[in-house]
């Protein structure tokens, strides 16, 4: 549905994106992940036909975006970085205008507008002037204008910016729902977002796509399996020696944690891929007379994959870190300590 080949965009002498290649299959959601200024918006703008590329080709539904701009424009819904809204219009009036210029026939218009308003939860606000809407509602109106004409391809540039956690979940569900009969490409710099919504992720950094894969295989590919975090009473060297010998353990590192009780250390054990050394680790520790206070399994998150990235997501909702990584192993002792001790997300150790 979307094919991008060797796409480059150069402003003056500074390249915004260089040699970007990826494709999106029909019905798929591709997440475009990268830090601010990585070239996400530039890529989206080229795909929407707003900017011409310096080199390379981008095709949407088989049409080259620059040469057959009109055909492409008819087939896309686009939410730019700042939602394009006319503050003096009502939500309904604005969507009606957008439906008109997107070429929705007069007969279909009322139904389409109604559907877009319902999908984006704007029913109570449909008669409100856009000027009077809060940022979250404006963002939703922005999404509504991108889907009002029911385009086969939807391009969303940071669709969840400015929304509260409840709305973020709504929007993510909406995007997933859209993917049934639309092809969606969305950009974000929030990591959990891609692993929650996207079928595939393209990670872009400094204008180059550094990896494209499913969120799960990206994590696996780049981090090689899961690991364990252990809270142990004992000598650092002894612990290291003991754990290094366990089969399936790739390496052991001590975590620098403040306010630990004396003679206690926290270590991180990274296992070989496809190995489950949890039981062996526990057994080895017991054999060597080392006291185990806590042991939990951690999975590499996308954050580990892309260390340069910063996430702005607050843990107000069930983020993948807490959902996926604190997969409690049955060897964990029923200690109250684990609640008292600060729980570290793997990303922070990795830095």
């Amino acid at each position: 549905m979307i094919e991008v080949e060797h796409l480059s965009k150069i402003y003056g002498s500074t390249p915004a994106i260089e040699d970007v290649t990826f494709s999106v299959a029909p019905g798929e959601i591709l997440g475009f992940l990268g830090p601010n200024g990585a070239g996400k918006t530039t890529t989206m703008r080229i795909l929407s036909g707003y900017l011409p590329a310096s080199r390379g080709t981008a095709k949407v539904a088989g049409f080259e975006v620059h040469e057959h701009s009109m055909e492409v424009r008819q087939r896309i819904g686009y939410l730019p970085e700042t939602p394009p809204l006319y503050p003096e219009m009502t939500v309904e009036g604005f969507l009606n205008f957008v439906a008109q210029i997107k070429g929705v026939s007069a007969g279909d218009r009322a139904n389409r507008i109604k559907a877009a308003i319902e999908k984006c939860n704007l029913v109570e606000k449909r008669k409100t002037l856009i000027r009077k809407l809060s940022k979250g509602f404006r963002q939703r109106v922005g999404i509504a204008q991108a889907i009002v004409h029911d385009p086969p391809v939807i391009i969303l540039d940071e669709p969840t910016v400015g929304l509260d956690p409840r709305q973020i979940i709504d929007v993510r569900n909406l995007i997933k729902q859209l993917a049934n009969d639309h092809t969606v490409i969305l950009s974000t710099h929030i990591l959990p977002e891609v692993s929650m919504t996207c079928d595939r992720v393209a990670i872009i950094n400094r204008g180059r796509v550094v990896a494209t894969n499913t969120p799960a295989s990206l994590m696996e590919q780049l981090m090689g399996g899961s690991g364990y975090e252990l809270d142990i009473a004992g000598n650092s060297i002894a612990v290291q020696q003991c754990l290094q010998r366990v089969e399936g353990v790739k390496h052991v590192e001590e975590m620098q944690i403040e306010n630990l009780p004396e003679h206690r250390i926290k270590v991180r054990v990274v296992s070989e891929s496809n190995a489950e050394p949890g039981h062996a680790i526990a057994a080895a520790l017991v054999r060597n007379g080392l006291g185990l206070y806590e042991m939990r399994r951690v999975q590499a998150s996308l954050e580990d994959v892309f260390l340069d990235l910063t996430t702005e997501e607050k843990p107000l909702e069930a983020t993948p870190e807490t959902a996926d990584t604190t997969d409690n192993v049955d060897t964990e002792p029923p200690s109250t300590k684990s609640e008292v001790l600060p729980t570290e997300t793997p990303s922070e150790d990795a830095r």
């Binding site: 402003y11 003056g12 703008r45 929407s48 036909g49 707003y50 900017l51 011409p52 009109m70 424009r73 008819q74 896309i76 686009y78 730019p80 970085e81 700042t82 939602p83 394009p84 809204l85 006319y86 503050p87 003096e88 219009m89 009036g93 205008f97 957008v98 008109q100 210029i101 997107k102 070429g103 204008q145």
Partner: protein, 266 residues
């Protein structure tokens, strides 16, 4: 073709709506009405005074040239209103594209299946319609003032004068729209439009200082000269062509500048 018209209509309606929903537009209209009302009254008083003076002179046996008072009145009123428009029109046109650029809605228009031409035409029609609404009360004042003159004034003269005013406005707004498409600052757009229009207003005065074909050609660009023609009831094809050229030039340049914008945007 049908979709092009539908698109122009959609843009036109949105543009018109934005004027009628904008406090700035109401403020401009109010000031325009106030000042044009005052100018109308002052011109009427002046003409009536002049007529009384002529009457007195004629009564005293001094020979005076024949003078068509209603005609002189229309000419004078439309003359001052034309000059007043010079200040008002740049304010109306300044936001046409600058505002869209600032709000980011140009990105919506540029990624919708619309040609730049239909957007420009729709916008120009919208702002011209707003100006027509602004100038309508003036036509009513004139009709009232001239209702009882003897012999009656031909309505065609009045309508031709106002047609000229609207053509002048459309030409200025079209050029103003182009300037507005070059910047995302409305203030800059207004200032540059004003400067350009002022230049075109008086360009024949400048041209008079020179001789030769070029000076003649430049002199013909003058808005004031061709406007005065129409207001005087002279339907000169040259004047109509000139106004039409300005309007088309403005639309053409706007469409081109929006297209060019895509190549230089950073």
């Amino acid at each position: 073709m049908k979709t092009v018209l539908a698109n122009i209509l959609a843009i036109y309606r949105r543009e018109l709506l934005s004027y009628f929903a904008s406090p700035l537009a109401y403020a401009i209209a109010a000031i325009f009405w106030l000042v044009s009302g005052f100018l109308f009254w002052a011109t009427l008083e002046g003409i009536v005074g002049q007529a009384a003076l002529y009457d007195a002179q004629a009564g005293a046996g001094v020979s005076v040239p024949p003078i068509d008072i209603p005609y002189e009145f229309i000419r004078a009123v439309l003359g001052v209103v034309g000059s007043l428009s010079l200040f008002v029109l740049p304010i109306l046109s300044m936001g046409l594209y600058a505002e869209e650029r600032k709000r980011g809605t140009l990105e919506l228009l540029a990624t919708s299946p619309l040609t730049n031409w239909s957007v420009a035409i729709g916008k120009l029609l919208g702002v011209v319609t707003f100006f027509v609404t602004m100038s309508l009360p003036l036509l009513i004042y004139e009709a009232i003032a001239l209702a009882n003159v003897n012999p009656p004034v031909q309505p065609s003269i009045l309508l031709l004068g106002h047609g000229g005013l609207i053509l002048l406005a459309a030409a200025v707004l079209s050029l103003g729209m182009f300037i507005s498409s070059l910047t995302d600052s409305t203030i800059l757009a207004a200032i540059f439009t004003f400067a350009l229009v002022l230049g075109l207003w008086v360009v024949d005065l400048i041209a008079k200082n020179f001789t030769g074909g070029l000076a003649d050609a430049i002199g013909h660009l003058s808005l004031l000269k061709h406007y005065t023609n129409l207001v005087q009831g002279v339907v000169d094809t040259g004047s109509l062509v000139l106004f039409a050229s300005y309007i088309l030039l403005g639309i053409f340049l706007t469409a081109q500048s929006i297209d060019a914008l895509r190549f230089q945007r950073s």
